[in-house]
Symmetry: C2
Subunit: 411 residues, 2 copies
């Protein structure tokens, strides 16, 4: 095979997905492989051996992130990075993160088999603790790498049993000596399942991820007046729940008006005093809204504030909203995105540009490395679930796009 | 004073309200006088003594309901009854129920002072356990009286400590020998605070209660699809909470369309899995809707079902609704209502007809005795609350209407 028609081996890739899925595998077909546990150690050992068997050089930094390096012809060139994470949620699936690492391994093996040399080195990365399920928050290693999270602080994070991140890392033998962030890459490409329903519903194989949505998380409260459900006429009510309902629909409308990328979700709601024959005097709720463009996110914020003010005035209730978390949108690198798009087109895969709702290591690295992501469909958009599923064909398509993109970027 | 210009003594009435409020009085100015407790015994003893001091004959039935009888000229005539209840909620106020009994006592004293004889006897009733706060359900003695509740079943009700109703009644010495329901009345009039905001907001002193609302209680459930808040576009969602919000506003609209007497309330709501970044796949809620006319209540049910069906179809969610409790509306007696209305008019009180949302002993007796109710305003419509409040003037106005109504009915 030549560079022009080089493709990965779908069965070999699928084999590694199924083989490593045994490490922490659950009876329901998922994986429980929390960061820095014995299961994480075992999959890291597997990965280290596979990397060495592929002739790759292994580096481990002080956050435990693993780098498997394939040299290039020109050592002065910054390496092209690919990768994701091998840790999972407690009831996680077989693809979230894992596909990005194992497809990277498959790319390395394919390059080896074809005897292809690249100009720039290629580095396959397994980022530590992307999920944050055992040690919150997630994406902590890529966060330290990008200079957005303090390393000493990260080391002190504790799990539910009071075990420190640093100690757990030490205990599984993956606390490297290498300072975090010293490796700088020419580009970084992360292949991941979409974790959403768009590609599947549109029958597309590849998503070129051009941006990660910014998100705002808020806690909301409505204060109305508690009164008797039987004796208070509708016109005399200050019903906190009905005001909430009107706001919920306003938030939905605002997201639609900023569609297709704008989304708004109310995940938690509680009415007080929670008695079936008392008109709620108070409602508490959460609000999560996202958009890949900072300007549109600002417009959504404005529209939400307007809705709160007008509903509050009309219904004589008070709204309070605390936006306690604000994550700015991240635009991925145009050149890297174009490389992904070209690769998908050359391979003849159906493809669309899209944005990412969930966070990823790539969203962190984007601030210091030209970065992009490749999405492949997952069944019913389901993720963080043992039933998470992707087809062999889609995984192979993603890996082929990864291969071609990396080849294009590495030269 | 003659019958024509006879009025009660506002200060004496107020004095009895304040005096008995000490029995079970709370630091916040309310009353905790649960049925068949030591406090209930003490207020019953107070009432029995006051009745005897007023020359009234006392009867007690097997449910502990107390009857204080003022003879009429014609013993063959059925007595005209007035009354309410002396038990309270755990954090109850000084007026709910109590006003109806003590105003009746004030009527008796006023008739005595003026030396007035009536044709029919007059009976003042203190119904046992109207609140149902210690022994659920409430209105159990008037329920047995009306033949709507089984007496043996009522006797077996238990409080939180497993104490039986019958035993508690025995223990405070108020288990009478008289069979329940043997006393039949020519009419029954219950004076009560409104427990709602209408009279206060309209600046009216007297409500002529022509009917009690029927009520339907339901548990509702919405089944949508749980999915990721960041990666699921608005158009691909089956958001159970947004469907709920749309239904809540539909229920509100339906109540308004059946106004001013139709009401609908959602007091409890819970979204699952209750995670701020997961679109709710399920919502559980309660629904309480009421109307004083059976036909309108039926129309509301139909409109609610239509709303559930159309919102469910449009949003691809499933609604399930379990109407587990259906209390039919009760129309009060036209002759007794007219007597109340005439009395209020003769006394020059501002007055309106209205319906009762909450249940009352009078709602039960209405099925066997021509019955009506008189409402007086309470502050902010507040009841079942230690801050429950009514003015001396309004209490006196209600007692005067009660006096005149009873005189008119008793002849």
């Amino acid at each position: 095979m030549t560079r022009a028609n080089l493709t990965i081996d779908p069965d070999r890739l699928w084999g590694t997905l199924m083989e490593t899925a045994e490490i922490g595998g659950t009876p329901k077909g998922g994986i429980c492989r929390l960061a820095l546990t014995e299961e994480d150690r075992r999959v890291r050992d597997w990965f280290a051996k596979a990397a060495r068997d592929a002739g790759l050089e292994l580096g481990i930094d002080q956050m435990g992130t693993m780098y498997a390096i394939r040299p290039g012809r020109d050592p002065s060139k910054k390496p092209i990075a690919m990768g994701s994470h091998l840790d999972t949620q407690p009831t996680g699936g077989k693809f979230d993160g894992i596909l990005g690492v194992l497809a990277g391994l498959e790319v390395m093996r394919t390059l080896n088999d074809a005897g292809i040399e690249t100009e720039a080195p290629i580095t396959l990365v397994n980022w530590t603790n992307e999920e944050g399920a055992r040690f919150a928050p997630g994406m902590v290693a890529s966060g330290v790498y990008a200079g957005e999270v303090d390393q000493a602080w990260a080391m002190e994070r504790q799990d539910r049993d009071g075990i420190r991140f640093g100690d757990a890392l030490e205990a599984i033998g993956y606390r490297g000596a290498e300072p975090v962030g010293q490796r700088r890459f020419g580009a970084m490409v992360e292949l991941h399942i979409e974790q959403g329903p768009i590609l599947e519903q549109e029958g597309k194989s590849i998503g070129v991820v051009t941006a990660a949505k910014g998100s705002i998380w808020a806690d909301g409260r409505v204060l109305g007046r508690e009164s008797h459900a039987g004796s208070t006429p509708m016109d005399m009510r200050r019903d906190a729940l009905m005001a909430f309902a009107e706001f919920a629909l306003a938030a939905e409308r605002i997201a639609r008006e900023n569609g297709p990328d704008g989304v708004a979700t109310i995940g938690v709601v509680e009415a007080l005093p929670a008695s079936r024959n008392t008109i709620p005097g108070e409602v508490r709720f959460t609000l999560d809204y996202r958009h890949p463009e900072a300007e549109a996110l600002g417009r959504m914020t404005q529209a939400i504030d307007q809705a709160l003010a007008s509903i509050g005035a009309a219904r004589r209730v008070e709204f309070a909203i605390d936006r306690f978390w604000n994550k700015a949108p991240v635009a991925f690198d145009e050149t890297v995105c174009a490389a992904v798009q070209n690769s998908a087109a050359e391979l003849g895969y159906s493809c669309r540009t899209m944005t990412s709702g969930p966070g990823h290591d790539a969203v962190l690295t984007a601030s210091v490395v030209p970065t992009a992501m490749i999405f492949v469909p997952c069944k019913d958009g389901l993720s963080h679930n043992e039933a998470e599923s992707a087809t062999k064909e889609d995984c192979a398509a993603g890996a082929n796009v990864l291969l071609r993109t990396v080849l294009q970027l590495a030269g």
